[in-house]
């Protein structure tokens, strides 16, 4: 699956805000070895779009996110933001660009400085960039804290540990938004939260995105979550993207064997792939010494010699926004999917158009 | 290069730097010539004295640069020649002094550490198995008190009670008989107080570490797992929980042993044990640099070697260390001298 090639990049659109090409991240391990964390990954995000990256632990999704903000700089490849290749910028150049690309992290505790008040944490961005202390900025910070549903006055005296995990994620969002960023990279923002809280954060992210016209890169190991929030979804395996495209399309017709197995494993009560009885056999190969050819071949039920010798490149599946890097994709498979109507039935309960406002 | 060898080289490098620093500091702070010749060294106007000075300089290579002198010393040192003492009668080799004193210190250290460990382990297990109950609280306070008593104070206290007040142990500590001397019983008795002085403090320090680690370990799922497997309480404590909890204690043990070669010096002074600690105090005061240098090297090397041994012990205790390329985290910050 190792998806090489850049066929899936949408070079034709002029509203591509962030374009990652052939990104490679490697870490030294020991004296000689290298961890191939991210190998030749390309994707692009259009303005206002949400790209979800999904994959299991160790697939390199978080590393990709960090490489985009150049922390650390990737080993090679291009990270083009508004036409500027961030990898080529010097320190100060990069610093000037930083406010435009913000991150939200997985761990609500670790991502907030425990020794500063919440207000200070949110205010940090403006303090960094303003030469003088202005009343106006403080007001903006207060507004932002309010916007994410917290009390600005409490925020002035409280520290992160006095807030719950969900609230901490809200603080993270406020901190990211205060600099008016274009892009927000969300690295597993809800994976450490309880499901009920998770829904609130996801809703809030959606609201913020709508309100501030953000572009999101959303990273998660939970396909349901990714699918819910994303316009496009990229599936990663062992440092490579194996399938990318419209979330609904991929869910309906996963073309890559890995995506298919991944979907099948999801314990969703309504998972239409749940019947697939194939199991992902074997262990995840070491990123120190990834398999040749297609990286998934060692565990792929469809693998042949070709997969070993030759790395597949991205090919479009049909005419939709759906790209897969596989020599033997599941293109022709007909799945007995439940109709949309059927799922709507289950959904019926919530059709009252009722929604609990983000009140906390 | 294999890892042990790399480590060894690092260790030697460290020793080299330590010796350079010591060598430099001593020559910078004190004047070796003055220690060798006495006031004649300052009598530079007198041609006769001058001649003596020149001779001595030549003999001790003091006319050479500091680095060259260090190199000469180092070359002798690696060949096992520690040089001669500066200021005793004649020029007895430093190695004689070391041979005489080191065994006494090692002996004391061994006694102290055996006492410490054999107190600390059952004590910790007892406390940890009753964490936060009365037994544990009392033992925690006790351990805390013992840790806060400096060894010189501990020496005075033990001496006061056991020798002066209760007259259970001898109040004389000539303790100067040769290492494998005749009256062995007497010697053992004389080692009791010094041994406990050093051992109790260490025991308390070990107990604090081991208790904490044991409590942490005992809260781990694998302990619950072992219990739910029907393993007896005692077996859970000693065969499941103890081993993975030993790291901090071993680290400290290594630090202690390594340092105690030099660190027992107050106790040696108080109980008049002619060990290496009292030797270094005397040598420092009389600016007997070769002796100081030799002892510093021995103590530093001891410290490093014991750390090395500790790392090896880790691999015995924890297979993770063996298989992964990194050693167990040292979460101990040791402070002291």
């Amino acid at each position: 699956m190792a998806g090489s090639g850049n066929n899936h990049l949408r070079t034709g659109f002029d509203d591509v805000l962030l374009s990652i090409e052939n990104l490679v991240v490697e870490f030294p391990s020991g004296r000689k070895n290298k961890v191939h964390a991210v190998s030749d990954v390309s994707f692009d995000i259009r303005k206002g779009e949400t790209l979800g990256i999904v994959g299991e632990s160790g697939c390199g999704k978080s590393t990709t996110a960090k490489a985009i903000v150049q922390l650390p700089k990737p080993s090679s490849g291009k990270v083009e933001y508004e036409g500027t290749d961030l990898t080529k910028l010097d320190k100060e150049g990069m610093r000037q660009k930083r406010p435009s690309i913000q991150m939200i992290y997985q761990d609500p505790i670790s991502s907030l400085n425990p020794r500063r008040t919440v207000f200070n944490i949110v205010n940090e961005g403006t303090r960094v960039w303003s030469t003088e202390h202005s009343q106006q900025q403080e007001i903006k910070v207060e507004e932002m804290i309010q916007a994410v549903g917290l009390d600005p006055n409490e925020a002035r005296i409280r520290r992160p540990h006095e807030y719950s995990g969900g609230q901490c994620q809200r603080i993270s969002v406020a901190r990211a938004l205060v600099l008016d960023p274009q892009v927000i990279i969300c690295d597993e923002p809800v994976s450490s939260l309880d499901v009920s809280v998770q829904a609130r954060i996801l809703n809030m992210l959606q609201d913020m995105k709508d309100e501030y016209g953000l572009t999101l890169l959303f990273i998660s190991h939970d396909l349901s979550v990714v699918k819910n929030v994303s316009d496009r979804v990229a599936v990663m395996y062992l440092g490579k993207i194996c399938e990318i495209g419209d979330g609904d399309v991929i869910y309906d017709n996963p073309a890559h064997p890995y995506t298919r197995l991944l979907l099948a494993a999801i314990p969703d009560p309504d998972n239409k792939h749940g019947q697939i009885s194939d199991l992902l056999e074997g262990e995840l190969p070491s990123p120190l010494n990834p398999p040749s050819g297609c990286r998934f071949r060692t565990r792929c039920p469809r693998a042949t010699e070709k997969c070993e010798a030759e790395e597949p490149t991205f090919e479009q599946v049909g005419n939709s926004d759906h790209w897969v890097a596989c020599h033997f994709p599941h293109i022709d498979d007909e799945l007995n999917t439940k109709t949309t109507e059927e799922s709507e039935l289950i959904e019926g309960i919530t059709e009252d158009e009722i929604l609990w406002p983000p009140a906390d | 290069m294999p890892k042990p060898i790399r480590r060894l080289i690092g260790l030697l490098g460290l020793l080299t730097i330590v010796s350079m620093v010591t060598f430099g500091a001593m020559n910078f702070l004190g004047d070796p010539l003055f220690n060798i010749l006495g006031p004649v060294a300052a009598d530079v106007d007198n041609p006769e004295s001058l001649k003596v000075i020149e001779e001595a300089k030549a003999q001790y290579h003091l006319d050479k640069s500091l680095p060259e002198r260090w190199a000469r010393w180092a070359w002798d040192f690696v060949r096992g020649d520690f040089g001669v003492q500066f200021s005793s009668s004649g020029q007895p080799p430093v190695s004689d002094l070391i041979k005489e004193r080191l065994p006494r210190t090692l002996e004391l250290m061994a006694v102290a550490q055996i006492i410490a460990v054999s107190i600390a382990i059952p004590w910790s297990v007892l406390a940890a198995s009753r964490a936060n109950r009365r037994t544990d609280k009392i033992s925690t306070i006790t351990a805390f008190a013992f840790v806060s008593i400096p060894s010189f104070a501990m020496a005075v206290i033990l001496f006061y009670f056991f020798s002066v007040q209760w007259d259970l142990l001898p109040d004389t500590y000539t303790a100067t008989d040769p290492f494998w001397g005749i009256s062995h019983d007497h010697r053992l008795i004389q080692l009791i107080l010094p041994g406990f002085t050093l051992g109790l403090g260490s025991a308390a320090a070990y107990q604090r570490l081991l208790r904490t680690d044991l409590i942490t370990t005992l809260q781990q799922d694998f302990i619950l797992m072992a219990k739910s497997k029907g393993v007896s309480k005692r077996r859970v404590l000693y065969s499941h929980a103890l081993r993975p909890s030993l790291f901090s204690m071993i680290t400290l043990l290594a630090i202690n042993i390594g340092f105690m070669i030099g660190g027992s010096l107050v106790v040696e002074q108080f109980f008049r044990i002619p060990g290496i600690g009292s030797a270094v105090v005397e040598a420092t005061l009389r600016e007997d640099f070769p002796v100081v240098l030799a002892i510093v090297m021995i103590v530093s090397a001891g410290f490093m070697v014991f750390n090395y041994i500790a790392d090896y012990l880790y691999t015995l205790i924890d297979p993770r260390v063996r298989h992964e390329d990194t050693s167990k985290p040292r979460k101990i910050t040791s402070m002291g001298m």
Binding site: Q198, R200, S224, L262, L284 | F222, M225, K229, V231
Partner: protein
């Protein structure tokens, strides 16, 4: 009907079971009056968010909670009142447990083979050799490749999935009458999770032991349990045969839980319905229904009176205004009309928000 089955068939019988912890603020009622019975050979899934008391409940049953607790009510295992017995006598023979994180629940400094064979040797009097052979057999059974080699490896040398298999083989070695699996797959990737769950179910059905699976994920419970029990705030909210929880849920909490989770089948950007508010304080918790403060059906009675147990066939729930009943629909309508619930929670239509 569960209650009509003879007691002899019930391997576990809880009645108004309570577990409290002493804290500085007072007694924390982690498990607050749970009654259930588990039949031999059946599987119960306990679902709940953090703080719902599901783990404490099970550790209470196992007797693994330590000294600082107060137990109340009755818990009978194979007819024997647990409160009067040292549970240690069941450990390693009749009860077994699997923990969430296979890394931390295996002794890092002991070879996995030894950990598996330990109960064999201790309780089944096997010789070293016999225990070893049996262990290798178990390893094969749970699908551990190269079982001989794995026998003398340490936990850190195995992957997460393999470790969980080792855990399962320990549980199997004990041949327990009841196996409690506490979040057995939470720390695993979904693909591995599926495998492990299937394996557990497989093993359970073969050996005819009873099993309790604890999870926060309703999806995990579905299809792998005979019955699902939803817990909240230390109490049972709803208990029903597996499918009916999804199809005909009665408790608003179950409903809210399900609707707050994004589903694969929903199209992208489907608005989620979160549960408002915070979980109840278990030391100084609310009167009445624990969920009332967050419930869109909540009426005044919910705030003052704890709902009685309602049993309809195999479906048990604790709610004054159950979902899908007229009472429920009416309660919701009245709340919607006045714009807020009895607990003061505002209700807005979607249009207002978007």
């Amino acid at each position: 009907m569960l209650h009509e089955t003879s007691e002899a068939d019930n391997i576990l019988e809880l009645s108004d079971y309570r577990v409290g912890f002493r804290t500085e603020r007072g007694l924390a009622k982690a498990v607050d009056g749970v009654s259930l019975s588990l039949q031999r050979g059946s599987t119960l899934a306990i679902v709940g968010e953090s703080g719902s008391g599901k783990t404490v409940l099970n550790r209470g049953i196992m007797g693994l909670l330590g000294a600082n607790i107060i137990e109340g009510g009755s818990a009978k295992f194979q007819g024997e009142e647990l409160a009067n017995t040292s549970r240690q006598k069941f450990w390693g023979t009749k009860m077994a447990m699997i923990f969430q994180d296979p890394m931390t629940s295996l002794n890092p400094v002991m070879k996995v083979g030894k950990q598996v064979s330990e109960p064999l040797r201790l309780h089944q009097g096997m010789s070293k050799k016999e225990a070893r052979d049996r262990t290798v057999e178990l390893f094969t059974l749970v699908g551990i490749p190269e079982p001989m080699k794995r026998f003398s490896e340490y936990p850190h040398q195995l992957s997460g999935g393999m470790r969980q298999r080792v855990m399962i083989s320990i549980a199997l070695a004990i041949e327990p009458d009841i196996l409690i699996a506490d979040e057995p797959t939470t720390s695993l990737d979904v693909t591995v999770q599926k495998y492990i769950l299937d394996l557990l179910v497989d093993v359970q059905s073969k050996s005819n032991m009873s099993m309790i699976i604890i999870t926060h994920d309703l999806g995990v419970a579905r299809g792998r349990s005979d019955e699902i029990m939803v817990m909240y705030g230390g109490r049972i909210m709803e208990k029903a045969p597996s499918e009916s929880v999804f199809v005909e849920m009665k408790h608003p909490y179950t409903e809210a839980l399900l609707s707050s989770i994004p589903r694969l089948s929903d199209p992208k950007h489907t608005r989620l319905t979160p549960i408002e508010g915070f979980p109840p304080d278990i030391v100084d918790g609310p009167q009445g229904c624990k969920f009332a403060a967050r419930c869109k059906y909540a009426q005044d009675i919910c705030l003052t009176s704890t709902p009685e147990e309602t049993i309809i066939d195999t479906h048990t729930y604790f709610c004054h205004f159950p979902v899908g009943t007229d009472a429920g629909a009416e309660a919701f309508k009245s709340n919607k009309d006045r714009g807020f619930t009895a607990a003061g929670l505002r209700i807005k239509s979607k249009r207002e928000v978007v």
